[in-house]
């Protein structure tokens, strides 16, 4: 296994996830431009300093009829003319893949400063059409074709699998949704921050909160979101120079301490069949997390102060809880019941509101998670700050746990 990384996170910027860029009649280029220029300004970095740039995006060809996304850097600022760029795709994990590739280029010594953008403009189409596009993150022909909203159904099956193996009460899923919505109210960029939401509404399991796929109800789902997030990654050498310029020490700049990344079989049923005798329902997700710990030199969840996980549905967060080792396999409900997941709990998860509360612009999510982890470890998370957070970890999954990525970020 490769050693832990020496890639520094200088910060970044996310757009307001509540915005509907189609209603503003904006092109994809506008979303990218605001995100990139916002990050340069926020981090006080001149565009000429950027040496290479990456875009994580899932399906702009479908949502926006637009490919060749790396080239949009040159539209964001004239100084980017000539910049090496690339676009990366791995469904909902696209943003993390872009971070991984940018990190690898830094570690290989090719470049010292990278811009990474995660971006998705999704409100260009109807919910049903968008649902079908998302189906291409599964094996479309075998798992999604002709099915309305395939993904809630697939993640409903994840809940069913837990139920079969260990038992699962839906009230715990509702509680997860409630925490994410409540945290989102503290996040000035969260999509749902001003939505009508209270505990009873999230816990409602009647037809007023209808099922969209088995046990998955509307309030169990992440959002359809327009959003872009830019972060800057740097080598140690550049980070030292940057820190000095900002009147800081290198030790003040967070680092990607460790990473995990792997891929499981595409189809949900195949994954579950393979894990039949395994300890974890999605062993590849588990090994992504453990390999990130190993590379970071931490022993497990007890060394992680805050988690930003992939709650595309409440069942995926339920799965994450035991895969992170917060409870024994199958006992995720205990963490819910004990209040461990709250911002001031023992294992805070998604203080940002996560994908349910903050929103899920698919290709942007992995980058948003990294940026929120950065904010936590430098103490810039404002109202959703976890007191004294030193190490933070992401989990970003594509498809039904097919591609998994995780970063441990700390100082």
């Amino acid at each position: 296994m490769a050693a832990g990384s020496d890639v520094y996170v200088l910060g970044g910027y996310m757009t307001d996830f509540a915005r509907n860029w189609t209603k503003e009649n904006k092109h994809f280029s506008a979303l990218m431009r605001e995100s990139v220029l916002g990050a340069l300004e926020k981090c006080d970095i001149a565009p000429e300093e950027i040496e290479s740039a990456h875009v994580g995006n899932f399906a702009a060809e479908l949502y926006c009829m637009q490919g060749h996304l790396g080239a949009f850097f040159t539209e964001a600022h004239p100084a980017f003319s000539g910049l090496p760029t690339a676009r990366h795709e791995a469904a909902c994990a696209s943003g993390s893949i872009a971070i991984l590739v940018a990190s690898a280029e830094i570690e290989a010594g090719r470049y010292d400063l990278q811009a990474v953008v995660g971006i998705e403009q999704m409100k260009t189409v109807s919910a049903a059409e968008g649902g079908a596009f998302l189906g291409t993150a599964a094996w479309y022909e075998q798992e999604a074709e002709g099915i309305e909203f395939p993904f809630p159904k697939l993640f409903g099956k994840l809940g069913d699998e837990y139920d079969k193996r260990y038992g699962l009460k839906d009230e715990y899923l509702a509680e997860i949704s409630k925490i994410n919505y409540a945290n989102a109210k503290l996040n000035p960029n969260a999509q749902t921050r001003t939505w009508y939401m209270n505990k009873e509404h999230a816990l409602c399991r009647t037809d007023d909160n209808p099922s969209v796929g088995g046990r998955i109800r509307i309030s169990d789902c992440s959002q359809v979101t327009d959003g872009a997030v830019t972060v800057f990654l740097a080598s140690r050498e550049y980070a030292e120079k940057y820190a000095k310029g900002m009147g800081k020490k290198l030790a003040d700049i967070p680092r990607i301490k460790g990473w995990g990344h792997n891929t499981a079989r595409l189809k949900f049923d195949d994954k579950v069949a393979e894990s039949h005798h395994a300890e974890y329902v999605l062993p590849h997700v588990r090994s992504t997390l453990t390999s990130a710990w190993k590379r970071a030199g931490v022993s497990g969840p007890e060394d992680i102060d805050v988690i930003e996980t992939h709650d595309c549905f409440t069942t995926s967060e339920y799965m994450a809880i035991d895969h992170f080792g917060i409870t024994k396999p199958g006992e995720s409900w205990k963490a819910v019941e004990e209040g461990w997941l709250e911002i001031d709990g023992k294992h805070p998860i998604n203080p940002s509101g996560g994908l349910i509360g903050a929103g899920h612009p698919v290709g942007a999510t992995g980058v948003r998670q990294l940026l929120d982890c950065y904010k936590q470890v430098v103490g810039e998370a404002g109202a959703f700050q976890v007191e004294g957070a030193k190490n933070a970890q992401t989990l970003n999954i594509g498809g039904t746990g097919t591609t998994s990525c995780s970063f441990v970020v700390g100082r």
Binding site: T15, D16, R19, K23, E24, N25, K26, H27, S29, A30, L31, R33, E34, G38, E75, K185, L186, N187, P188, N189, R193, T194, W195, Y196, M197, N198, E200, H201, C204, T206, D208, N209, G382, A383
Partner: protein
Amino acid sequence: MPPSSDRFSLKQARELLASRSIEKVVVLGANGTMGYGSAALFTQAVPQVTFLARTKAKAEEGLGAAIKLVRSPTVASRAKVGDYEHDFEAAVAEADLVFEALTEDFDVKKDMFDRVEKARRDDGIIATVTSGLSINQLCQGRSDSFRKNFLGLHFFNPPNVIVGTELIAGKDTDPGLVEFIEVFGRVRLGREMIRSADTPAFAGNRVGFKVLNEAAQLAERLGPVLVDRLIGPYTGRALTPLATIDLVGWDIHRAIVDNVHQNTNDEAHETHKLPDYMDKLMERGVLGNKTGRGFFWKDDEKVIHVLDPVSGNYKPQDEVKLPNLDYIDRVAALHRDARYPEAMQVFLAAEGDEADIARKVIAGYISYAFHRVGEVTETIDGIDRIMGLGFNWAPPSVLVDTIGVAATVDMIDQAGLPVPENLAEAARTGEPKIFFDNPHINVGRFFVAG
């Protein structure tokens, strides 16, 4: 702590929230749009919200509308309904907050406050949603405890969607209560709270309806289509001005501008005068969307018909001939790529009478807003936030930053309007570099590429 007002630190906000509690709210006039909308919003954070109206059936209508508005069954589980005759005294006696949302009529509100005063608890808060009646006058002559606990809480319609909210203290309102309500609104209700002074129409409507009424005045000469095109989305708004008046209702528009025209005498006095044609047409039932006839109406075939303000007749929008407005398309195309400063340069450089008119309205908006600082809000930030998050218009400071302060000063000057002193000074000195310094608000959202 979001939304973006940073008046209090997190710790202060938590302490203020813990200082008192709102567990029971009574909404008076709960069958009206602002009544049930506000009641719906309260159910998000308050365990018991009582909908009161003239009859129980009307209160139930309000509850039904509230449930429909926020699409949550939890509204019903937290709501009680009743009427003024049977349920008023008991409900008001136990209320932590009595929220008045009756019709905008001073005497109607006054009579209701007589009853509230007799029934209320000594520490019960009384808030009015009035969009412009004087807070001090509404509580004049009442007991010390009433005046101390009385304030304006001006939600915008619909309250669950529009986050910008004005908080207006009277001269005797307990400052601690105002701070508590500010934090309660911000944290528990998720609203953007703006402190406005007790002046006619407060801050938002004073500045906003000045622009809307100016558009209505221009429509007499230019026609509604051209006016809404000239003061359109490209100038920093989602909804065009005359369509906004149709949505708000002509009668409400009249009430607001008449109030401002009668009770203020500022440098833009003439722009507050309701055009005569609107008065005449209102007699014929032209009240905007609610009567199906306004500046515009849409027939069953979705054809939009446009008012001729002079004759009072309508004709299909397609038959309206417009002058060359290519510059607007060029501005919109630049907005579409988020090139907002470049877009505004095209706007500034556009030639022709039409562009002059558009610039005069926008310059007037900026000039008027900056001249109101110290009168309607303490700083420009309050006006900026209510225009941005109450009206969904580019806040004046955002326009200044995007256009550039020197160019803004020129634009105001060329329009023959008074240049605000702090803009003139910034143009001279280069300080401050930016006027809108709010990290929680994306300024790009205001420039709609339409």
